[in-house]
Symmetry: C2
Subunit: 220 residues, 2 copies
C-alpha cells in the first residue's frame, strides 16, 4: 500500500488524512513545524499508519501522491517548503482554493479568469503532476459522497492523463462512482472549478448548510 503525504493540518487535511489511514494507507501529515500540535495529535490518534513532520518530511515520505490541503493563499509557499526535489515525479492533488479574506466576506479569488491556483502550482513545480480535484465541495462530501443521495459530481483536471487516472482511482476508494467523476482535461480547467467558489459560498449562505453538491444533468 502506498505512502501518501498530506500538507496542511486544517479541517480538510485532517479529514483527508484520517480517511486515507482508514483505507489502510500510510500517511504523513506535514506542516510548517514538525511540532505542530494538530499534526502531532493526528499521528497519536491514528496509530502506526499515521505520521507527522514538516512539509518536506511529508513530501519526501510520499511515494506517489501528495495532497495540498494548505490555505490557498499560502499554498505556493508551503509547497516550496516541501521542496521541488521531494515533490519531483509525484502527483500533487490540489484541493485548495485561492480565497483571499483580507477584505472580508465574501472572499475574492487570488487567481481568476486568466489563471488558477492549480496552474500556478503546476508552473512552479514542472516536474510534478498537479491534479486539481475535490475543491468544489465540503470535505465530508469529498470523502463520503454517499452522504448526499443520488448522483453528484467531482471534477478532475491536470496535464498528465496517467495522474488523472490515478486520482480517479483514489476517488473511487473514497466512494465516488466512476460515472460521477468528470475528467475536464488539462490543468487550465482549474480556472472553472475554482471560479465555482463564489457561487458555492452564496449557495451555502442561502441554503444554510455545506451539505450540498453540484450535479451535471444531461439529456439522455
Amino acid at each position: 500500500m502506498s505512502k501518501i503525504g498530506v500538507l496542511g493540518t486544517g479541517m480538510v487535511g485532517q479529514a483527508i488524512a484520517s480517511r486515507l489511514v482508514g483505507k489502510g494507507y500510510e500517511v504523513c501529515m506535514g506542516s510548517r513545524s514538525a511540532e505542530n500540535e494538530k499534526a502531532v495529535a493526528f499521528a497519536e490518534k491514528y496509530g502506526d499508519l499515521a505520521n507527522n513532520g514538516t512539509f518536506a518530511d511529508a513530501a519526501l515520505f510520499a511515494d506517489e501522491i501528495v495532497f495540498n490541503c494548505t490555505n490557498g493563499h499560502a499554498s505556493i509557499t508551503a509547497l516550496e517548503l516541501a521542496g521541488a526535489e521531494n515533490l519531483k515525479g509525484k502527483v500533487i492533488i490540489d484541493v485548495a482554493n485561492p480565497l483571499d479574506f483580507t477584505n472580508g466576506m465574501p472572499p475574492k479569488l487570488l487567481f481568476c479568469n486568466d489563471s488558477s491556483l492549480g496552474e500556478q502550482i503546476q508552473n512552479h513545480f514542472p516536474d510534478s503532476m498537479v491534479v486539481k480535484s475535490l475543491n468544489t465541495m465540503n470535505c465530508e462530501i469529498m470523502l463520503h459522497p454517499e452522504g448526499i443521495p443520488g448522483d453528484h459530481n467531482v471534477f478532475v483536471c491536470g496535464n498528465d492523463s496517467g495522474a488523472r487516472t490515478k486520482v480517479s482511482e483514489l476517488l473511487q476508494e473514497f466512494g465516488w462512482k466512476a460515472d460521477n467523476i468528470i475528467d475536464l482535461g488539462d490543468i487550465t480547467a482549474a480556472r472553472g472549478t475554482e471560479m465555482l467558489l463564489p457561487l458555492w459560498l452564496r449557495l451555502f449562505s442561502k441554503i444554510g448548510t455545506v451539505e450540498f453538491n453540484f450535479n451535471i444533468v444531461r439529456k439522455p
Copy 2:
C-alpha cells in the same frame, strides 16, 4: 397580458422572444437599427404579437419587463441606447454573460471576482431593477427545462425582491418548477453565476453537447 421588450436579435433573443409570443405576450425585439433583418424577420414570422424596433423602441414598448439578450461585452452600450428613461421603473432581466473572445478560446470574463455584468448594469441604471437569471445554460433549456430530465436549477438574483418574484413567476411560465428556482439574493450573486461560465464552457467541450444543466443536490 403585459408587453415585454427583448434587446438583442441573436440566438438567445430569438428564442426568448418567440417563446414569449407563444405564451401570449406582446413582444418588441430591439436592435441597434430598426431595420435589423433578424428583428424584422421575427416580427413578420410571429404575427400580431411580434414587433420590432430600436433598442429604445423596445424599452419604451415594455410595460414591466425588458430582457437583455445582447452580447455581454456590448450590453451597457445597448442599454444606454435603450435609454435610462425608457427603462426606468422596469425590470431588466439580464441573461447575458460578459465574455471576451478577443484573445480567442476560451473567452475571459470582462468583469469577474469583484464585479459582474449584472452589477455593472444595476449601477448604470439605478432606477431599474436588474435581475440576473438564465445565464448559466443554453437557451433551449432556459425556455424548455423539461428537455432535461429530473431536477435541475435556474438561479435568480437582484436587489429588489419584488422583481425577483416577478421573474420567478415568468420562469414558471417557461416550465420551471418553483422548487428548482434558486433565489440567491442581491445582485452581487451575479458574480457567482457569471463565474460559472468557464466551467460551463469546459463541460460543453468535454461532454460535447450544450444540453446539460447544473443541479444542486442536498442532503435531505
